[in-house]
């Protein structure tokens, strides 16, 4: 009698563990709170739309996708704990993290747990460590720095250019690459400085730039600091142009910097919104009152990538999925994606953009 009861109890537990409807948990992770929260918001909106569309098509291998959202606030310690939580939730695919300094430590957790990830982090170290599970759907800072540095050296020939970073893995990496590319083109940076992100007062830096007659500042870091620097430069009567990286796509830059935002140039992949294949999806986002700027379409593409790779592999297990991701070419809203042996996107391009009246477009 006791034994049958025990067996029944075991059976009941077993029944609880297997959900009635098969669902596949996939995850996004990034700064959902903190000073870069607006980027996290873009990622979430893109992923939610993609998953709704995929589920409307019948899901992946007959199973519906469910989205898990991890908030690392761009803090490397929190990123590792988010990664552990996600592993415990049994996710089969991760789109994230966003900050390079979060992606790098978190990827160590995912590789141990055999979870493939697609990231937009641009620091070269993300794919240079020989991890097999990581795929980058964005370009790298060395490519980005090359484009930015060459542009600065040719378009602002003879002007004084300073290179400044925020000491983060992303910011310093990008600034170093820009400085290298500039020097190679014969334009040595007039000043090389670092600031502390999260502070409010950058008048010291601004005054220094003004003393040295700097007209252009190449900046490795995030949009919040650029907005503050531009505002304080205006107060100090300094006419400053800023060249930044992919993080400057954030429209919060415009609200915080005001009209001075028109002085911001940045490098980013060719605008996916201009991709004719993406038009129906872009329309759909706009109908839902979401402007598919910045990382929105990247998150959408990451989910498409998973859908197509899992369909090709006929499985969501790590080994076949990883093989499919590495070998295939995938049609997504950001264009065709294919990866090299390191996991870098094979044909990533960077273009220089300029903010103008609250919109960004290719710089002439």
């Amino acid at each position: 009698m006791k034994k049958t009861l025990f067996a029944a109890a075991l059976g009941a537990i077993g029944a609880l563990a297997v959900p009635a409807h098969a669902e596949l948990p996939v995850a996004i992770a990034g700064p959902m709170t903190g000073q870069y929260a607006s980027a996290g918001d873009q990622i979430r909106k893109g992923a939610e739309m993609a998953i709704a569309d995929i589920n409307a098509r019948g899901g992946v291998l007959g199973e519906k996708l469910v989205l898990e959202v991890g908030d690392d606030a761009c803090d490397p310690k929190q990123a590792v704990s988010v990664a552990n939580t996600m592993v415990n939730k049994g996710i089969v695919f991760m789109h994230g993290h966003w900050c390079s300094s979060s992606t790098i430590p978190a990827s160590e957790v995912y590789v141990e747990a055999d979870i493939p990830m697609a990231t937009v982090s641009t620091n070269p170290q993300v794919t240079e460590r020989g991890l097999e599970n990581i795929f980058r759907i964005m370009g790298r800072d060395d490519q980005q720095g090359m484009v930015a540095g060459t542009y600065l050296a040719t378009q602002f020939k003879g002007k004084k250019i300073a290179v400044v970073d925020d000491k983060s893995a992303y910011g310093k990496g990008l600034a170093d690459e820009i400085a290298k590319a500039m020097t190679a083109k014969g334009a040595t940076p007039a000043l090389r400085e670092s600031i502390t992100a999260g502070e409010k007062d950058y008048s010291g830096l601004v005054t220094k730039l003004k003393r040295d007659g700097v007209e252009v500042m190449a900046y490795g870091g995030y949009h919040t600091e650029v907005a503050l620097i531009l505002r304080q430069a205006q107060q100090a009567g300094l006419d400053l142009t800023v060249m930044g990286g992919d993080t400057m796509t954030n429209s919060e830059l415009v609200t915080a910097a005001g009209p001075a935002a028109d002085k911001v140039l940045f490098t980013f992949s060719p605008d996916p919104r201009k991709n004719p294949d993406a038009a129906p999806v872009v329309e759909k986002f706009r109908a839902a009152k979401v402007e598919p700027e910045g990382y929105v379409l990247y998150a959408y593409a990451a989910m498409q990538l998973f859908e197509q790779a899992a369909t090709a592999a006929k499985s969501t297990d790590y080994v076949p999925l990883e093989k499919a991701l590495r070998g295939g070419t995938f049609k997504t809203v950001i264009g065709d994606l294919a990866f090299d042996a390191k996991g870098d996107q094979q044909a990533p391009g960077f273009v220089v953009y300029r903010w103008q009246g609250g919109q960004y477009d290719y710089a002439k």
């Binding site: 959902m32 709170t33 903190g34 000073q35 929260a37 607006s38 000491k167 400085e193 670092s194 600031i195 502390t196 999260g198 502070e199 409010k200 007062d201 008048s203 010291g204 830096l205 005054t207 220094k208 003004k210 003393r211 919040t224 907005a227 503050l228 505002r231 304080q232 205006q234 107060q235 100090a236 009567g237 919060e252 609200t255 915080a256 005001g258």
Partner: protein, 304 residues
């Protein structure tokens, strides 16, 4: 030379704000001997109140800047001192007379509470406001560098000087100042002589919060962005200023604030900006080694 003058102006502006916040730390320490760790967050709350006011005024199409500033200052001071009063009433008064550590922990709890409340109700994003005061005056057009002082910088420095003068007068010359100093020296004796100790302590908290509120308005005018985390860094710096000047001493807090502002801007101007905070705290250690009670602090005399 002109460059140094410009950095001096930058440092004074930054230092004034640190000083205004530091007074809140030092006054509370003076009267009840505890560090009010929630003070930085009171400052953060005040900056949010100011930003909300500015946004409302912009929506109401108020174009007179002096009028708008006066209004925002008054509203912010009113609500922030209410916060200061409530924090003392809820988190510290019930613990008065218990161990020294209890209110300290309660202060840290209050700080986390305020931060999270603002994060949840106002959102985690930065809140920007359009520039309120633009432009400035050219002080000196040296051949290689033009020294400029922005109207908002001038406003910050002048407001701080005026407030400090008024404050010193209040503490040294008015009946409230006398009661405040009496409570500082000996709470029991003051109570025996008819001073309402609870009321004096409450007022002290409200005054500290009002000064933080002024700093909050200035921050939103000068920098134009606030987020729920600004209280932490500002609080740490202001607390350091209070310790540097000698905790418990009002002129000390002001001096400490100005010194930290100046060290920060001059270090960033002539040496490596990335080691700015290392320098600030290094100098703090040095001062405390040579003068353990701070620059203007009196050593505590143990009465036996």
């Amino acid at each position: 030379m002109a460059y140094a003058l410009q950095q001096l102006i930058n440092g004074l502006t930054l230092g004034s704000m640190y000083g205004l916040i530091a007074i809140g730390y030092t006054m509370v320490y003076g009267i009840i001997g505890m560090i009010n760790f929630a003070h930085g967050d009171i400052f953060m709350v005040s900056a949010f109140i100011a930003v909300t006011c500015f946004t409302l005024l912009a929506a109401a199409d108020v174009s007179s800047i002096p009028l708008a500033l006066m209004f925002v200052l008054m509203v912010t001071i009113f609500f922030t001192s209410a916060y200061g009063w409530a924090v003392e009433r809820v988190a510290y008064r019930p613990l008065r007379g218990s161990t020294r550590l209890a209110p300290l922990i309660s202060a840290i709890g209050m700080s986390i509470f305020l931060q999270n409340t603002v994060q949840l109700t106002q959102g985690a994003r930065v809140k920007p406001i359009p520039p309120v005061i633009e432009g400035g005056i050219e002080l000196w057009a040296a051949p290689d560098f033009t020294v400029q002082i922005g109207w908002s910088q001038l406003l910050i420095i002048v407001t701080t000087v005026v407030l400090m003068t008024a404050f010193t007068w209040m503490i040294t010359r008015t009946p409230f100042g006398r009661q405040q100093r009496a409570c500082e020296q000996d709470r029991t004796m003051a109570a025996l002589l008819g001073v309402n100790v609870d009321r004096t302590i409450s007022l002290t908290f409200m005054l500290g919060a009002s000064l933080a509120a002024v700093a909050g308005v200035m921050v939103s005018v000068y920098y134009g962005v606030v987020d729920f985390f600004i209280g932490f860094l500002a609080g740490i710096k202001a607390f350091t200023a209070a310790v540097l000047g000698g905790i418990g001493s009002l002129p000390g807090a002001m001096l400490g604030g100005l010194l930290i502002g100046l060290i920060e801007s001059f270090w960033a101007a002539y040496l490596w900006a990335e080691y700015k905070d290392v320098a600030t705290f290094g100098i703090l250690c040095l001062v405390l080694m040579l003068r353990p009670s701070g620059l203007l602090g009196r050593p505590e005399v143990e009465k036996v």
